[in-house]
Every structure is written in structure tokens, then in C-alpha cells.
């Protein structure tokens, strides 16, 4: 952690709240994410973890507190790849570049590089529906990378995939995060996934969402989701999470 603490803070949430009418989704959440950090947000249903991401992404406004990302660029990935069926795989990856006014040859070159990063170079001319779920999610990742964002927000991106695909995509995401020096905020309700991937795991309470624990995960990378270290720490966090869920059981 000593190394990470020296890097610059890229996301600074100070006591932010978010309510929808009477419903308080997030209650005074404070969180700092540093450059290059992989932060997992973990919580049961109703903890507002997705809300938190859309606030950081600027898709929604905060109700109180302060949110500072220093004008950095943000990209957001969802559980669904949500690729556009009228574009080829490459066309989907090119879209952010097109919107940014990058020239045709330049964006084609860049899109191919990005497809190479997610190991889908040979699939550029395919249509999204011709790919498997895991492949589509990698295209969505390439599209997110094409936005050249400083901060990558991921909202349960592997939630709909089978365990084997998810395992392999963990390795892939970790590699790309390291190579591209990304800052990632990753929402999940899968404790092992959080411990497998994160430098930190932020545990949120439910209704309203509050930060109840901030775990530093220091096991050496690359990790395995079924290693004793990951399992051990995951068990500890799961106990804490269950206690939180039980609190709502009256």
C-alpha cells in the first residue's frame, strides 16, 4: 500500500448522499481512489453500489456532499455488453473514436489495436450477435478503452457469465488493467471476485448505502480465485456482509 498512497487521488468522494424522493440510496459516503488503483465496491442488494458508479460517471447528480474527479474522463461498463447490433464488432469499438472526430484510417488502426488487447483481432468484421457473452463483454471493454478514459467504472461486468469464462476474464482484466495503467472502480456482489481483483474492497451497508469497511487486499498478484489466501479473506468479508444482511431481517 505504501506505493499506492504516493499516487495522486483521481476520485474523491466526500460525504456524498443520494436520495430518490424519500428513499435514501447513499448516505454520506466518503471514498478516495488513487491513480492506478483497483477498487472493488461490494455490498448486498440495495447498497447503492450501482448508484455510486453512475454518480461518478456523471449520469446522475448527487444530493449532498462533494464529488471531485478533477475533470478526468470516465467510462462505464454494464452487466450487459449493450453493443449496437447495426455495427460490426470493429464499428462498435470505433464508435467513441468516431464521436471524438478521429479520422477513418486512424480510428480503424486504433480499433484494431484495442481488439488486439482484448484478443479479438480476428473478430472485427463479425456482428455482435455472432459472439459469445464473454466475447461481447470484451468488445464492450475495448469500446470503453477507446474512450481513452482515466477511470474505468465497471458495474457487475461479469455477473451474467459462467464461472469458467468469468475466471478467465478476471485474468484478462487484471492484465489489461496493469498494462494500460487504468484506475478501476468495480462493483460486484461476489465477495471472491472482489478479493480476487481488488487492491481494496469497500464494503457497503444496505438501505441506505454507507461505507462500513475498507479492506486492503495485499496478496501477491496474479491471484487465483480458489487460492487459500483469497478464500480466507473472502470468508472473513462474507461474515461481515452476512451480519449486515441479517440486520435487515426483522
Amino acid at each position: 500500500m505504501s506505493l499506492l498512497q504516493q499516487t495522486e487521488a483521481v476520485v474523491r468522494l466526500e460525504s456524498i448522499s443520494k436520495s430518490y424522493g424519500d428513499l435514501l440510496a447513499l448516505d454520506r459516503v466518503s471514498l478516495t481512489v488513487r491513480q492506478g488503483e483497483f477498487v472493488c465496491l461490494l455490498g448486498a442488494s440495495g447498497c447503492g453500489k450501482s448508484t455510486l458508479l453512475s454518480l461518478v460517471a456523471g449520469l446522475d447528480g448527487i444530493s449532498g456532499g462533494s464529488l471531485d474527479i478533477g475533470g478526468r474522463r470516465v467510462s462505464l461498463m454494464f452487466q450487459e455488453a449493450a453493443l449496437f447490433p447495426w455495427l460490426s464488432v470493429r464499428g462498435n469499438v470505433e464508435l467513441p473514436l468516431r464521436l471524438a472526430g478521429v479520422s477513418r484510417t486512424e480510428r480503424r488502426k486504433r480499433a484494431d489495436e484495442l481488439l488486439d488487447i482484448v484478443r479479438l483481432r480476428d473478430f472485427g468484421d463479425k456482428r455482435p450477435h455472432e459472439l459469445s457473452g464473454g466475447m461481447r463483454q470484451r468488445v464492450a471493454l475495448a469500446r470503453a478503452l477507446a474512450q481513452n478514459a482515466d477511470i474505468l467504472l465497471m458495474d457487475e461486468p461479469f455477473g451474467a457469465l459462467d464461472a469458467m469464462t468469468r475466471d478467465i476474464l478476471h485474468d484478462e482484466l487484471e492484465r489489461i488493467w496493469r498494462e494500460q495503467q487504468l484506475t478501476v472502480m468495480f462493483v460486484t456482489h461476489n465477495v471472491r471476485e472482489a478479493v480476487r481483483l481488488g487492491d481494496r474492497v469497500i464494503l457497503l451497508s444496505s438501505r441506505p448505502g454507507r461505507v462500513i469497511e475498507d479492506y486492503a487486499i495485499t496478496h501477491e498478484r496474479p491471484r487465483r480465485i480458489d487460492s487459500p489466501e483469497v478464500s480466507g479473506q473472502a470468508a472473513e468479508i462474507t461474515d461481515r456482509l452476512r451480519a449486515e444482511v441479517a440486520r435487515h431481517g426483522h
Binding site: 449520469l59 449493450a82 449496437f84 447490433p85 464521436l99 450477435h129 459469445s132 492484465r175 487465483r224 487460492s227
Partner: protein, 308 residues
């Protein structure tokens, strides 16, 4: 740190010989990913030879036509109606064969199709503009949204008396009714296409920072295309029906359209010719419908909306 999974490799290393160099982790990872991709992709299924596929979709149609002709022939044999009122299929098809080899007939088809396409294109232009406006401005939607659907259900023949008063017996009268028949369907197709753009796509659009024109160009319009095509298809059906009604009611001097020719055949009590023109109108309608369906299916296939 060349070993990817230290704990998993530890056991192996004790037992394997020195020469057995473990594969580079990057290579292993690449092989795993591409292996998984290969396994998850569906192998291409052969759907049989083209000729077989054509046959499979053709024979039911041929059979259906055969049954209709047979019933018709039986009705003729039973002398349910005098032969000059209900001629036999053979007579009708002979007459039809004679008619369609004349230049006059094709002039008639040209007049009718020119009207159909002009009216339809005008309806598409007007319907698209109205649809775009209604989907954008809530007050406009509240004002005329249900009116558009109401117009769609209105039988177009009801417009002709007014059209004739407004435009006399002219091309404009026909065009007026054709456009009124088709434009609401086109507008509705576009409106529902825009209304039902999936939320996840809209969120992606937001994340990608699409705004204003770019949002329309890159998201809303392509996303609403399937619904818009359905609207066009329905619009065509309405405009074709309106046009046929119009050609029977509004006889513009000098324009010997299909409808006029049919009316003339009726005046001469030439049933065989009347039925011939019915068949012509039916066939044209089917051909255009096939075109729309081809476009629709091509789009669905590209989008992966049908099982391939």
C-alpha cells in the same frame, strides 16, 4: 515471476525433468482465451442446398394456389353462376395472358405505379417529419398522438368525397387520399421505434457522451430502424389500398390506370377481364410485400434477431 499460478505449479515442478520448461504464462493465457472463444462459438450449420430450401418454401404456396383454382373450377362446373358472370380459371388466365402482352396494359401499370410510388414517397416524407416531431415534443404528442392512430384506423374511402370537392377529379385528389392513408402508419412506426430504444443502449449513449444530432445519427435512428421498416410496410399496404379505391372512384381523363381499365371491364360486363385485373393487383401487392419482407429479414439477420 514467470509462473502464473505458483501454488498449482509447485507440485509439478518437483516431479518434472529440468528440460520440461513450463510454458510462458502469456502464451497459456492467450491459448485459454482463444480456446474458450472457439468452444463458445456455434459451429456453422449447413441448412441444405439452395434448391432444396426454395422447394421447401415453394410447394405449400403452389399447393394453396392449386386448391383455390380447384374450388373455383368446381364452382364453375356446378353452374352456380352463369358462365359469363363466373368464367372458368382457364378462360381468365387466357384473357390475362392476352392482356398482359399488350402495350396498353403496361401503360396502365405505369400510370398506377407512378401514382403509388409518388404517393408513398410523399407519405414517407410527411410521416417521417410528423413522427420525428411528435416523438420529440411532448405537447405535440399529447395533441395529435392519438389522432395519428385514429387516422390509421379510418377507412381511406371516406376521404374521397372531400378530396373530390377539394381537388376535383384530378391526380391531386388521389394523391391526397393515398398520403392520408399511408403517412400515419409511417409516423407511428417511427414514433414507436424511437420510444422503444432499449434503455441499456440509451445509457451507453450517455456514457459515450452522445448528445443532440450525434445521438440521433448514431443511436436513435439506427435503433428505431426495424420499427420504422414495419411502419413503411404497413404504410405501403394502406397506400396501395387507398390508391385502388381512388382509381375506381376518381377517374382522371386520359389516365388509363389499372383501376380505370377494371371499371371499363365491369361496364362491359367482362367478368373475365375484371378477375384478370384483380389478379394483377394482387400480384403487384404480393411482389412489393416480398421486397419489404426481404429488407426486413436482412435487417433482422444482421442484428441477430432471428435464429440463424
Amino acid at each position: 515471476m514467470a509462473i502464473k499460478y505458483p501454488s498449482a505449479r509447485a507440485g509439478l515442478e518437483g516431479t518434472t525433468a529440468q528440460a520440461d520448461v513450463p510454458e510462458a504464462p502469456e502464451k497459456v493465457a492467450a491459448a485459454e482465451v482463444s480456446g474458450l472463444d472457439a468452444l463458445e462459438l456455434q459451429p456453422h450449420r449447413d441448412r441444405g442446398r439452395l434448391s432444396r430450401r426454395i422447394w421447401r418454401s415453394t410447394w405449400p404456396k403452389v399447393l394453396a394456389i392449386g386448391i383455390v383454382l380447384l374450388i373455383w373450377q368446381i364452382a364453375v362446373w356446378s353452374e352456380w353462376k352463369p358462365i359469363y358472370v363466373l368464367p372458368s380459371p382457364a378462360t381468365v388466365f387466357t384473357d390475362l395472358g392476352t392482356v398482359i402482352t399488350t402495350g396498353d396494359f403496361w401503360d396502365g401499370v405505369r400510370v398506377t405505379m407512378t401514382r403509388a410510388f409518388t404517393g408513398f414517397l410523399l407519405a414517407v416524407a410527411i410521416g417521417t417529419i410528423i413522427g420525428a416531431l411528435v416523438s420529440q415534443f411532448a405537447p405535440l404528442r399529447a395533441a395529435i398522438g392519438s389522432l395519428i392512430t385514429g387516422l390509421q384506423t379510418m377507412p381511406s374511402i371516406m376521404w374521397f368525397p372531400l378530396a373530390i370537392l377539394l381537388f376535383q377529379l384530378s391526380e391531386s385528389a388521389i394523391l391526397f387520399v393515398v398520403v392520408l392513408g399511408a403517412a400515419p402508419s409511417v409516423a407511428n412506426g417511427l414514433i414507436s421505434g424511437i420510444d422503444y430504444v432499449p434503455r441499456t443502449w440509451l445509457r451507453v449513449g450517455q456514457v459515450l457522451g452522445m448528445r443532440g444530432f450525434a445521438k440521433y445519427r448514431h443511436l436513435i435512428l439506427p435503433a428505431s430502424l426495424p420499427s420504422f421498416i414495419s411502419g413503411l410496410k404497413q404504410g405501403w399496404a394502406f397506400s396501395w389500398r387507398s390508391l385502388m379505391a381512388g382509381e375506381l372512384l376518381v377517374i382522371v381523363p386520359g389516365a388509363l390506370s389499372i383501376g380505370v381499365r377494371m371499371q371499363q371491364a365491369r361496364d362491359l360486363s367482362d367478368s373475365s377481364l375484371v378477375i384478370s385485373y384483380i389478379i394483377v393487383v394482387l400480384v403487384i401487392g404480393i411482389l412489393i410485400d416480398v421486397l419489404f419482407n426481404t429488407a426486413d429479414n436482412a435487417l433482422r439477420k444482421r442484428w441477430g434477431l432471428v435464429g440463424s
